[in-house]
Every structure is written in C-alpha cells, then in structure tokens.
C-alpha cells in the first residue's frame, strides 16, 4: 500500500467472513465532514461492516482508516468511534447524566473538553439529567445517545439503522433532527439503512451493498438516477427494468427495441447499436393521460391498459400493460380525474431523459 495516502475515514479491500455473513473487498474513502450512507437489504453485511469498522472483528484482509490513521489493529476502545445502535442502547442502570459521563470517563478527556453539563444543555437534556433511560421518549433517547458519544470526542459516528424500529411519522422527525445534528457537528458519519428515503435524505455520498460487497458507490443522485446494475436499480426503487436492444443512436438519443415497442432514451456513451441494455424507469417519471400529448418533446408515448391499482402512501401505484410491464405513481387527484380503474385505457408518457440505460 506504499504511496497510497490514507483517507480521513475509509477502508481498503476489507474482507472478512463471520458465519453466514461476509465482507468482500470493501473499499471506500470519506472526507472529514461526509455522511456516507450504506444502503442494502438485510443480510447484505452492513452491520458486519460497521462492527468491523468499530473494531469488534479483525478483518481477514484489508485496512481500516479512522481519523487519517490506519486503525486496523486497534481495539474498539482505542478507535474513538461512536456506535449508534437501533434504540441507541443507553445504559438502563444509569441516569441520563451518568450515561453521558460514561462517554467522558474512559476516554481520557482533554483539558479543553466541553463539560458534561454544557453537553447536556447543548442537546436540551439539562432538565432530565436525573432520569433513567426507561423514562425517556424516543427523541430524548436519541439526544442522550448523541451526547454520550460527543462526550468522548468521536472521530467517526456509526449508525446501525437507528430509526428502523420507529413508526413513520416519528422517524421523519428524528431523521430531520439527526441531519441537523450531523450538519452542525462536523464529524464524519457512516449510516447504514435499508430505507431509500433515509439514504436520500442523509447522504452526501452513498454505497449500495449486496452480498458483502459494494456494488455501486456514488452520490445519491448518481445512484438513484443512474444505477449501475439491475440489482441496484431494483433496490433503489426503479420499478420498471426492461431488457432491450439498441437499434440506433442519433443526437444523443438512443432508440431501444423492447418487445414490440421502441423506447427513446438519453444515450450514455457506451450505447452502441445491437447492444443489449436495461432501460430503467422510475414510477414517478411515468405520466398518465387520457389523450396523446400534442407536445412532441415527450418522445415516449404508449397506449397502455391499467392492470392493477394499489394505494401507496399518499400516491397510487398503477401497474400497466404498455406492451411491456410498466409501473407508474399517480396522485390522488390524477387518479380521480383520469377515472382510473382496472382495464382503463390510458396513454403513458415518459421523457427520454427519465429513462436510464444500463449496458449488459
């Protein structure tokens, strides 16, 4: 590894097998203020990665960097890593103040360290310092855990799906609080989740993980709008992934033959005629209408028949047969105005720029 400068936080070729879980050549690098989100299904090895970064497992191969130094051989207590578990794992036998003091006591506090009382005040906990964790609300627990972690002056935050067990409304509030906190703290954070919204909301940079390996690393926009593989596309919420063949490319627009239909998609550099591609269409990019657009800027307009409709949060998820299976999201208003029902004939339109191509 000579000549390679250590990243502020990161991993190089991290490999490990523990039971049925494994890490395969995990490599990433983060800056000193980045929030890095790792998105992946359960069983992908996300928690194993976090626990390896925290020092609970020694990797079979590879290196871990924390605070600009190689921390591969350091025990957990020497890494200055704040581990935030689901439900935050506050010490139930200690009061709020004692929990926060625990973070200070063992870390060899510096002379200029913020006093525990000031930390409690900063996170709005000064009035509940004498309470035990069992008496706290979810939001208070999160703030106590953050205060406890700050007390030991962490070099890195690790979040292991902290919000996964909460109901949706509450989750939004806590996520917003967390985002503000991370923005102000200026401490790098790695955040593991299987929730795409959480990833979009928090990530400066993100990775999609599957079977112990990072299958794509990039900005949230890159990953959500340009998934590198079918696996990533399926996981980040692209409901329609069509197999097709490039018919031709002109003026930056590729014509794709998919079954009986021809799609127009913004070409990527590698699309060549006769090449097999996957066309990815996000459901929110599909517009439904009763009549065809006169506007020719919409390249893709297909006669489609509604197969099924299901409520999905505030939206309706409409499954269509457009000569190929297609999924669209429509608002309640559109749903009523279009009089959608199973069997309704509609026009589905998709902008060429909204179709993302993945070369096989």
């Amino acid at each position: 590894m000579a000549g390679v400068t250590a990243p502020f936080v990161g991993a190089q070729g991290l490999s490990l097998r523990v039971g049925t879980f494994e890490l395969r050549e995990v490599t990433f690098a983060m800056g000193p203020r980045d929030t890095f989100v790792i998105l992946g299904p359960s069983g992908a090895g996300k928690s194993l990665l976090l626990e390896t970064l925290a020092g609970f497992y020694r990797p079979d191969r590879g290196q871990v960097f924390i605070g600009g130094r190689d921390a591969t051989a350091a025990p957990p207590e020497a890494r200055r890593v704040a581990f935030m578990f689901q439900d935050y794992a506050l010490f139930p036998h200690l009061t709020v103040t004692q929990n926060v003091e625990f973070g200070r006591r063992f870390s060899g506090s510096r002379a200029d360290a913020e006093p525990v009382s000031a930390l409690l005040a900063r996170l709005g906990l000064e009035h509940i310092g004498a309470r035990k964790p069992a008496q706290l609300s979810g939001g208070e627990k999160q703030r106590v855990a953050l205060a406890r972690a700050l007390a030991m002056d962490p070099a890195l935050f690790l979040f292991d799906e902290p919000l996964a067990a909460l109901d949706a409304r509450f989750r939004d509030t806590l996520r917003a609080e967390l985002k503000t906190f991370l923005g102000n703290a200026g401490i790098p954070a790695i955040y593991v989740t299987h929730d795409q919204l959480e990833a979009l909301a928090l990530a400066d940079k993100m990775a999609v993980m599957s079977d112990g390996a990072f299958v794509q690393v990039g900005t949230p926009t890159e990953i959500f709008n340009a998934p590198a593989s079918e696996l990533v596309a399926n996981f980040v919420g692209v409901e329609t992934v069509l197999e097709g063949t490039v018919i031709g490319v002109s003026d930056g627009i590729a014509r794709i033959g998919a079954g009986t239909r021809v799609l127009h998609a913004l070409s990527n550099d590698s699309a060549r005629p006769d090449e097999r591609v996957l066309a990815c269409i996000r459901p929110e990019d599909v517009a439904l209408a009763r009549t065809r657009h006169a506007d020719s800027s919409v390249r893709n307009q297909f006669d489609a028949k509604v197969l099924a409709i299901a409520a999905s949060g505030p939206l309706f998820k409409v499954t269509l047969d457009a000569g190929f299976p297609l999924v669209a999201y429509v608002s309640k208003q559109s749903y009523i105005e279009l009089g959608l029902a199973s069997g309704t004939e509609v026009i589905a339109s998709i902008k060429a720029t909204a179709i993302h191509l993945i070369c096989r």
């Binding site: 139930p92 036998h93 625990f102 406890r148 972690a149 030991m152």
Partner: protein, 286 residues
C-alpha cells in the same frame, strides 16, 4: 409511558375477563395449590407450635448448639463467596460464548443436582479425605485439611450448591444486551471496565438470586457434610445428633432456633433481590 400504562390496564382487564370464564379451572387449580402450600408450611409451623419458651431457652443456652449454628452460617457464607468467585466466570462464559463441548459443560454443572448427597460425600472423601487424591498432598504441602475442619464443610456445601450459583448468574448475564457491552467498548472502556461497570451491575439481580439460592442450599446441607466431615458439627448435623441421643423434643428445640435463623436470612435475601428490581435490565427495551 402513558401508552405503556394504558396497555397494562387493558392487559389486566383481559386477564380478569379470562379469569371469570375459566372459573372452574381456576377453582380446581387453587385447591391443588392450596394443598401444596399447606404441605410446605405445616411441618414448619408444627415445629414452632411444639416449642415452649423454656425448651427454647435451654437449647439457646447450650454452647454446642450456638457454635453449630454459627459454624453453619460461617461455612455457608464462605461457600457462597467461593461459588460466586468460581461460578460467575463460568456463567459468563456460558452466557456469552458458544464453544465445542458446551452442552457437556452444562451437563457437568447440573450433575451435583442429580447425585445423591451421601454419594457426593463418599466421592469427596476419595478426593479430599485423609488419603485422598488432593486431600493428602494439600495437607502435607499447605497444611490445609478437609477432615474435621470448616474447610471440609465448605467443600461439601460447595459441591451440592454451586449449580444454583452458575445457573442463576447465567440467566442474569444472558439478560444483559450485548450491544450495551459493545457501546461501552466504543466509549473507551476496556473489557474489564465493561464487565464491572455494565455487565455485572445489569446482571446483579440474577447473580444475587443465584448466591441466595447457593447460601440457602449450603446452610441446609446434611448428607454430603456428614459423610465427609462429621466434626465440626454444623447445625443440621447437630440436630441429627440430638435426635439420635435425646429424641424429638431436644432436637426440635434446636431445629426451631436454626429454622428461625435461616428463615430470617431467606426473607432478607428475597428483599435484597426485590430491591434490585428497579435497576434490573429485564424488559428495559420496552
């Protein structure tokens, strides 16, 4: 909090509902339970009922009786300490790790519960007796003898009571969420600090339960003690001795004194365990 309270109220209501529906079953089972509780309590109450203050005073004024009771207390305390020092580490290993042969180790821990106590005493004689495997070298090298000494009493008590210490401590340690230990490590605490500041305090109730059971089992041990070391006489041995020499009335007076001591301690330990309930980790995540 409010929802927890209301759900508990709802739960109670549901239980009451079920209670009224199951009246026949509850009646039959209450009858059986009543018989069982009476079976446990009657002999003890009868011992108290048979005593006069004069017989109690006479027993209490005997130095031999007092010494036997004190020896029982002393030996049971020593046994409990040994069981804690040796049993908690084993309980920790069993609670936290899986390893080849774990089932075998668990079986060994429970073995003393299955062996008749006189048989335990004979086995201990072979090991700790005058010519025993460890008894002979221990006497010649360190001077510690296991016959005719408190050490012998402790050895016999320990053998029959240590399963209670290990098993209860293990349940207590298993109830401690390993994530709490991990968080403590990341907060800068080393393995030993985590053990003493997080794991043991949170497992305290289980460990305390185990130690109180160990104490109770030790102080009441008779069979293993009498085979390994008849002297010095512990209270149960002395009571048996009085029974053989002077009959029921003499022995029951001492039995009453000893029973009072052990029951007081039993109640005190249960109180201690109940006190820890507030700090106990069981169900804390809800």
């Amino acid at each position: 909090m409010a929802s927890a309270v209301s759900s508990r109220v709802q739960g109670d209501r549901m239980n009451t509902h079920r209670f009224s529906q199951a009246r026949g079953l509850v009646f039959a089972f209450s009858l059986a339970s009543g018989l069982l509780l009476a079976f446990i309590m009657l002999p003890l109450l009868e011992i108290y009922g048979s005593q006069t203050s004069a017989s109690l005073m006479r027993a209490a004024s005997s130095a031999e009786v007092r010494n036997a009771i004190l020896l029982s207390l002393e030996a049971a305390c020593l046994t409990t300490a040994c069981a804690g020092l040796l049993g908690v580490p084993l309980a920790y290993l069993l609670a936290r790790f899986s390893f080849p042969g774990k089932g075998f180790v668990e079986a060994i821990v429970d073995l003393p519960l299955a062996v008749p106590h006189t048989v335990v005493g004979i086995g201990l004689l072979f090991v700790f007796g005058r010519t025993g495997l460890l008894g002979a070298p221990a006497a010649s090298i360190t001077g510690i003898k296991f016959w005719g000494t408190t050490a012998g009493v402790v050895i016999a008590m320990l053998y029959v009571s240590v399963p209670y210490a290990v098993n209860a401590a293990r349940v207590g340690l298993e109830s401690v969420d390993p994530r709490l230990e991990k968080v403590a490590r990341t907060l800068g605490a080393g393995r030993w600090a985590v053990l003493f500041k997080v794991t043991l305090p949170l497992a305290g109730r289980g460990i305390l339960t185990g130690l109180s059971l160990t104490f109770a089992r030790s102080i009441s041990e008779f069979g293993a003690v009498i085979v390994l070391t008849y002297y010095p006489m512990t209270a149960p041995v002395k009571i048996y001795d009085l029974f053989l020499q002077f009959g029921l009335s003499e022995s029951s007076a001492m039995a009453t004194l000893f029973l009072t001591v052990t029951l007081s301690l039993f109640i005190f330990f249960r109180y201690l365990v109940a006190l820890r309930k507030g700090g106990a980790p069981i169900g804390w995540r809800a």
